[in-house]
């Protein structure tokens, strides 16, 4: 089976700073891959590279087996199949309904399909009655759930989550994680990459976990091995909470 996402020796530099160094990683269809590591380890940059938001300086990225050249039509097509929730998601200055519809509209969906999907999603989010309110009036938790829904409403094959439940109270975290589980259950081949600081969350949600350190991918392993019997000393220290970050 071809990996959904494959990074081969990818490096990303910003002037003198190397954010990601020679990173190689794969995520298989149906897999939830967690990326953990200290702050500034390059986790978010790695996710941005996978979302083709910026080009690597070196190395190659393959999506569903096809090499992606930044800004190529093929990459633009791939981006349409990827959903992403950023670390600090923001609502567009329009109604809750039109925030959800935006993802579908930019993909050229017809209005009938948009109407049906948006209504369904609004009910699921419990925001049907406030669908015509400006999305900026939502609470932090509601906003995060709206942004998650916006990234999944078009049924992407790949979902990238960058600290998608950060700074939320436990009940909102639980609601968001349930939203994720519900999304995964809609298809057997959904591939999810989650960047998180929360090791408990990585343990709860992921099948496989990777540790990033100083821009490098140090270790990638199945969840049980990663948390119980890692190969690398740094992983062992990190999962024990002995790394100050």
């Amino acid at each position: 089976m071809k990996p959904t996402i494959e990074l081969r020796g990818v490096t990303r530099r910003y002037k003198d700073v190397v954010a990601v160094r020679d990173a190689s990683l794969t995520a298989m269809p149906g897999e939830i891959l967690g990326i953990v590591g200290p702050s500034g380890a390059g986790k978010s940059t790695l996710l941005r590279l996978v979302d083709l938001l910026e080009p690597p300086n070196e190395g190659e990225l393959f999506i569903e087996g096809e090499a992606m050249e930044f800004s190529s039509p093929k990459a633009a097509g791939a981006r349409r199949r990827i959903g992403m929730v950023l670390q600090r998601p923001v609502a567009l200055n329009r109604s809750v309904r039109n925030n959800l519809a935006y993802s579908l509209r930019i993909r050229g969906a017809d209005e009938e399909e948009i109407l049906g999907k948006v209504d369904q999603e609004l009910k699921r989010l419990g925001l049907a009655e406030r669908s015509l309110k400006n999305a900026k009036t939502l609470s932090g938790g509601e906003m995060q759930r709206l942004c998650f829904a916006r990234a999944t409403i078009f049924d992407p094959d790949i979902l990238l989550l960058d600290e998608f439940a950060a700074n939320l109270d436990p009940s909102n975290v639980s609601l968001l994680e349930n939203q994720l589980k519900s999304f995964i259950s809609t298809g057997s081949n959904k591939t999810v990459m989650i960047v998180t600081h929360n090791l408990f969350q990585a343990r709860r949600l992921c099948d496989k976990v990777a540790l990033m350190w100083d821009g490098r991918v140090i270790e990638v392993a199945d969840k049980d091995k990663f948390f119980q019997n890692p190969d690398d000393q740094r992983t062992a220290e990190f999962v024990k909470g002995e790394v100050v970050y």
Binding site: D51, L53, A76, R79, R80, I82, G83, M84, V85, L86, R88, P89, V90, L92, N93, R94, S95, N98, Y102, S103, I106, R107, L132, N134, C147, R150, A151, F154
Partner: protein
């Protein structure tokens, strides 16, 4: 004595609105996309282009009029069009005054849109064109402000309108050139009254634009 009558007043007011409105629409149609491109695209010399745009805020109306006069004068390169001393020539000259103002304010407005909005839109899979259009919508208040400033400049403008329009009675006379004429002929009361009409017209247009500006975007 040249005194503007009631009927002439209506004619002059409507022509003022037509010339200023068309110049604002045309200037905005060019200035808004231009400003959005300058503000959102990365290219070499961007700083210089922004400085030139801002410098042109101070572009003298009489220079714009002179330029259009030269182009459309009988011996000028586009003299065959025969549009000198017509409202069309006035619209063209005033459009040149609107473009830098609208473009400059658009640059500032789109740059000021939250960086996270731009990131979010791109991360949602929007193309470059869709990203620019979405950011422009997010900058709505600033873009309407750009149109307001553009209109404000041309409704009160006299130099270019006089030079390329010629202040011909019933043909190219607008409120500002009528005020000038009435003042020169000593009809200060009429000139003041025309000034009040000019301000009233501006008030109505700005009220309308402000309502558009404050409309909640849903």
């Amino acid at each position: 004595m040249v005194t503007t009558t009631g009927l002439e007043l209506i004619e002059v007011t409507l022509l003022s609105l037509y010339v200023s409105g068309m110049a604002t629409i045309l200037g905005s149609a060019i200035g808004i996309p231009l400003g959005a491109l300058i503000g959102l695209k990365e290219f070499g010399g961007k700083g210089a282009v922004k400085t030139i745009t801002y410098t042109l805020y101070g572009f003298p109306p009489v220079l714009s009029g002179l330029f259009v006069y030269y182009i459309f004068s009988r011996t000028g390169p586009l003299g065959d069009f025969g549009i000198l001393f017509t409202p069309t020539a006035m619209i063209i000259a005033e459009t040149f005054l609107v473009i830098p103002l609208v473009a400059g304010i658009t640059i500032t407005s789109v740059v000021e849109v939250d960086k996270n909005i731009k990131e979010t839109v791109r991360a949602m899979g929007a193309s470059s064109k869709q990203t620019i259009l979405t950011v422009m919508r997010e900058a709505w208040v600033g873009l309407v402000m750009a149109c307001m400033v553009g209109f404000g400049r041309v409704i009160a403008e006299v130099g270019a309108a006089y030079l390329v329009g010629g202040n011909i009675d019933g043909k190219t006379r607008v409120l500002t050139t009528a005020i000038m004429l009435e003042t020169r002929t000593g009809n200060f009361e009429w000139a003041m009254a025309l000034g009040a009409v000019l301000l009233s017209v501006a008030l109505c247009v700005f009220l309308f634009l402000r309502l558009i500006q404050e409309r909640e975007m849903l």
